[in-house]
Symmetry: C2
Subunit: 415 residues, 2 copies
């Protein structure tokens, strides 16, 4: 994690850092002793942040703001308009006409071990611009989807919808959202100035990076993490942590004799703003997906392990629970693993999913901010998570237990 | 504090915010019921931050950096050079020739209730550029003088010396200083790129703002705080807190009958980068300094009160200790008050000094950073400090105890 964060740093899909990261991954997998280390081509969308600023107009007070990933620019001269505040996406949907105004969704999220506050908040970030545009708004600003109280805004992907006007979308830091809220309480007609310059460039080449810890049989246990990161920080906890966790786990397996199955490490491209890497992997490996015994994605930060979840064929759930019981003294839950963006194409094809749950209570303080640097990770907690992933992978690699295919009804993502 | 921070925001001497702050102070003192509220002219130096960036060169990794207050710009194209790291100012002074290189002083400071870590670190910020230039360095970067681990760099004033080359001076965030240290450990020849653009403009008019809670006799008890702030944050804890603390204390005194002495509130201009306001006050009130019974400066953040210090004529120390005993259940120390920048010209003239010490253990996390916003202050702690200042001022305003003049030997600032 530290090496990737320090020596490569930010690496949004298609950026110079992205190419550096691919080279880093090949080098690092080889150094770790993985075999058949190679890249697999992925075409990724390229979005660039050029500049961003926001301020209250009278008196002029600067606000810290960041464009959401995928946002269009503001028109020349920016947007200067009154602001209408909402405390949820539903309130925006059910609210008044916003013609000529800026929508402001100021929704706080819970701090929780299971990170559920982020799940609650993400629809605001992803769909806010669509809902605000439907009401006639000329831009949307949201309270950062984060558990911190700070001046670091959180970016993250947002979407537009065909047929709905594309309006600029940005996140204020939580402190600045509080200031805007207090300002509107004093003066409901206060004006906000928002200036975003972003660029959408032609799709560019990137790559998934794949390396194996070979086993004697045909089975493959996939351990994945994503190599790309948002541009603001250095991609330490998101997802340098996952990269470090699965690589350390794979090295652990490499030290074990009698491996019946291959443990395959995949560092996926472009998780943050397209999922292009995950789709490319599923397509490129279409013919061998049947040999994928299970897939685990590590993209939950650098916290300690707090549980294991498994989603298998329903008649294999008890056996899976037994296989993984006793690891790191954490509970095992069968039949409710979630996976994540990078393994969702595999889940859709029925490949069993393994989750190592981590304590996410501090994760969303720095997630997608410039504060995502190695200092925020606790090495002991991260080692605990990695050792848990190692044991999960090792038990499956040394065993011949088949987990079957996920029941059809459960192959779709929950979110 | 919140009103000044929200409605005026940053207010570096000579900036547009500075004028807004003076108007705010007049309005707010009048609303509080102070009498003879007026401004007194102060001419202040004007320094502007235009742009700033730093990065490692290969691979290019952005570092968060801020120009120190007063720094010159880098030459066109910036500075790109090898870096030599030191862990103290003494190590820099006693170190090797730095011709063509960038000096990096990476000194951590202690977190402490009495804030002594800041005092330890400040000479690095103030004198670092002089010492580095003497060794031939072309620029200096320092680890932020702060107790945080974050990506927010701390600015603050620095000095040049006649006859020594003026080199650009900047602070890295603590996280970025750690990154630079790790990078140099891997590659001692790593290059740093530094680009600072700053401007020194002609001196401009500003003002001290003065208002009284009148007493029946001639004596004056001065309660001071500074109105200006650094430009990065919103001047909440530095020194919106002091402004709020002394104003609330004065309002408290206003509610008391039988005031024998006037409690005068002074909001000083330009404390951060010249002390011009404090000098102007001492000069304008030269003829009435004898009537100043004591002066208290509140510029210690928003923490709870932890002690009272008094510096009086030595034969009045016991009486002063007795007068202030029992306030807020905090100890009273006689004959060792320090004062601060804004009361130092009064101290030099022998005016007794009162300090209300505050818990500064969290103060230097956000001090002089963009994180200096109202959210970081604990209202209960700040109320405790203010109530302590109120009681100190009230006891002195209701009493006829004379504190004499400070002994000649103790009139000079300790730092």
């Amino acid at each position: 994690m530290r090496s990737l964060s320090d020596e490569v740093g930010p690496r949004l899909a298609g950026s110079p850092g992205d190419s550096l990261a691919v080279a880093w991954a090949v080098r690092t997998m080889n150094a770790a002793g993985l075999v058949d280390v190679h890249t697999e081509p992925v075409t990724v969308p390229v979005w660039q942040r050029v500049s961003e600023s926001a301020s209250l107009v009278a008196p002029p007070v600067a606000l810290t703001v960041t464009a959401l990933g995928g946002s269009v620019s503001t028109p020349k001269g920016g947007v200067r308009a009154e602001v209408v505040r909402f405390t949820s996406l539903d309130a925006l949907k059910n609210g008044p006409d916003l013609s000529g105004k800026v929508a402001f969704v100021d929704m706080s999220i819970d701090r929780a071990e299971d990170g559920h506050g982020y799940g609650d908040g993400v629809p605001v970030r992803i769909n806010g611009a669509i809902e605000a545009a439907r009401k006639g708004a000329i831009a949307i600003v949201i309270r950062s989807i984060g558990t911190d109280h700070s001046r670091l805004p959180h970016t993250g992907v947002m979407r537009y919808q065909d047929g709905v006007t594309k309006i600029p979308a940005a996140a204020l830091s939580t402190d600045d959202a509080d200031l805007l809220t207090r300002t509107l309480a004093r003066d409901p007609h206060a004006l906000l100035q928002l200036d975003l310059v972003t660029r959408e460039l032609p799709a560019a080449p990137s790559a998934n990076v794949v390396g194996d810890v070979p086993g004697t049989g045909p089975g493959i246990v996939l351990l994945g993490a994503h190599l790309d990161s948002w541009d603001l920080g250095r991609g330490a906890v998101d997802d340098g942590a996952g990269v470090g966790i699965v690589l350390a786990a794979a090295r652990g397996v490499l030290g074990l004799p009698s491996r019946k199955r291959t443990v395959r490490v995949v560092f996926f491209a472009a998780e943050e703003n397209s999922g292009a890497g995950s789709k490319a992997y599923a397509k490129a490996h279409d013919l061998e997906l049947d040999r994928h015994v299970a897939a685990l994605e590590s993209d939950h930060g650098a916290g300690a392990a707090v549980g294991i979840r498994v989603l298998t064929a329903s008649d294999k759930a008890d056996a899976a629970r037994a296989l993984f019981s006793g690891i790191s003294n954490v509970p095992v839950f069968a039949d409710d693993a979630h996976g994540g963006a990078d393994v969702s194409p595999l889940r859709a094809r029925g490949v069993p999913i393994l989750d190592v749950l981590q304590d996410a209570s501090a994760y969303f303080d720095v997630h997608h901010t410039s504060g995502d640097v190695p200092e925020v990770a606790d090495p002991a907690a991260m080692a605990h998570a990695s050792c848990t992933v190692f044991q999960v992978a090792a038990r499956l690699a040394l065993s011949e237990l088949e987990l079957g295919r996920i029941d059809e009804a459960k192959r779709k993502e929950a979110w």
